[in-house]
């Protein structure tokens, strides 16, 4: 009597664009107790095909490195129990959408981080180590807005889930704009006008259609749509004041 197994289809290939050249390859993976999708991928690479390329690090749902497309949905594979996704004993696993593919399940995160910088993601200090530490009251609305946005670990799931990212190559994306919003609300930061200009270009916050795929799929329960709405308000106010 054979142990139960799952039919796991895994993307194999390399290239640019949506997926580039490649195809899905099927493996029969033995089912184990408390198995996650990352466990499936690891089993395949360790027991069936050592040439399978994939990315992971903490495997406990903290780092976001294992983000992949599972049955069409971007998720952290280490936090996805196979019971949640297996349909008729089958699972399909591919690299994150909206990013170039380096190989198999490994997406190239460079465009994601390039846009993070382009959106004004870098903090612009206004004090030096010689100055006193600036006191920040945690109860202020601005600091609460930062709190709501600050837990982003740049896993790329929101970027993969967003259809505006797919449709508009310039679009900075939910994570980059969420980061920009956290700095817009940081009173220690000195680059407000430049950052608002950075998020008002052809790829800026005004392209968001509030589909809220980012909200639906963020593993940290963040709300980039609300952050982007904040950027829309801030940029309009700045434009009305002639700052943009």
């Amino acid at each position: 009597m054979s142990a139960p197994s799952l039919r796991v289809s895994v993307w194999r290939g390399a290239g640019t664009g949506q997926h580039g050249a490649g195809e899905y390859q099927a493996f029969d993976v033995p089912v184990q107790e408390s198995q996650t999708v990352l466990d499936l991928v690891a089993w395949i690479q360790q027991n069936a095909d050592p040439t399978l390329a994939y990315r992971y690090a903490c495997r406990v749902g903290m780092c976001g490195s294992c983000a992949m497309t599972v049955n069409g949905v971007p998720r952290w594979t280490c936090r996805t129990h196979i019971d949640k996704v297996a349909q008729d004993g089958a699972v399909t696993i591919g690299p994150l959408r909206n990013l170039p593919v380096i190989k198999d399940l490994v997406a190239d995160m460079d465009p994601f981080f390039d846009k993070w910088i382009e959106a004004g993601g870098a903090f612009a200090p206004t004090r030096t180590r010689a100055d006193a530490v600036e006191p920040i009251d945690p109860a202020t609305p601005a600091r609460r807005a930062v709190d709501a946005a600050i837990e982003c670990i740049n896993c790329g799931v929101c970027y993969a889930a967003c259809d505006v990212v797919s449709a508009n190559p310039d679009y900075l994306g939910p994570a980059a704009l969420n980061r920009a919003w956290s700095l817009v609300n940081d009173v220690k930061d000195g680059a407000l006008d430049a950052r608002l200009t950075a998020v008002s270009g052809p790829g800026g916050c005004h392209n968001c259609h509030s589909q809220q795929g980012c909200v639906a799929h963020c593993p940290n329960d963040l709300n980039p749509t609300a952050a982007i709405a904040g950027l829309k308000r801030a940029t309009v106010r700045a434009a009305l004041r002639g700052k943009l």
Binding site: N71, D163, H209, Q212, A216, N223, T225, A229
Partner: protein, 113 residues
Amino acid sequence: MRTHRNHALWYAFALHRASGLLLALFLPAHFWVLSYALNDAAALDGFLRWTDYTAVKVAEFGLVFLLAVHLFGGLRLMALEWLPWSPRQKTYAAGAVAGAGFLAVSFFLGAIR
């Protein structure tokens, strides 16, 4: 259907985009027919006679629904962007469809009288 799109607020977006596009395509025809009022009211009346057919009344019901759902959906978006964030996004989206349905049915009941 891509599974990452299978959530209520994506459908709300799709409905808003589809309704806007269909209304934008309808507008030139609407303006063109109305322009007959200036020099050829009889021709305008001829067009309006089409509205006696039930099929046309159903189409008009559809147009009223599209306009109302686009309006209410748009108000939902403006509230999302300019008022403090509400966790009831799906409720508002459902309310937009319900409100539009109500108006469209009211129109249809008036049209078939």
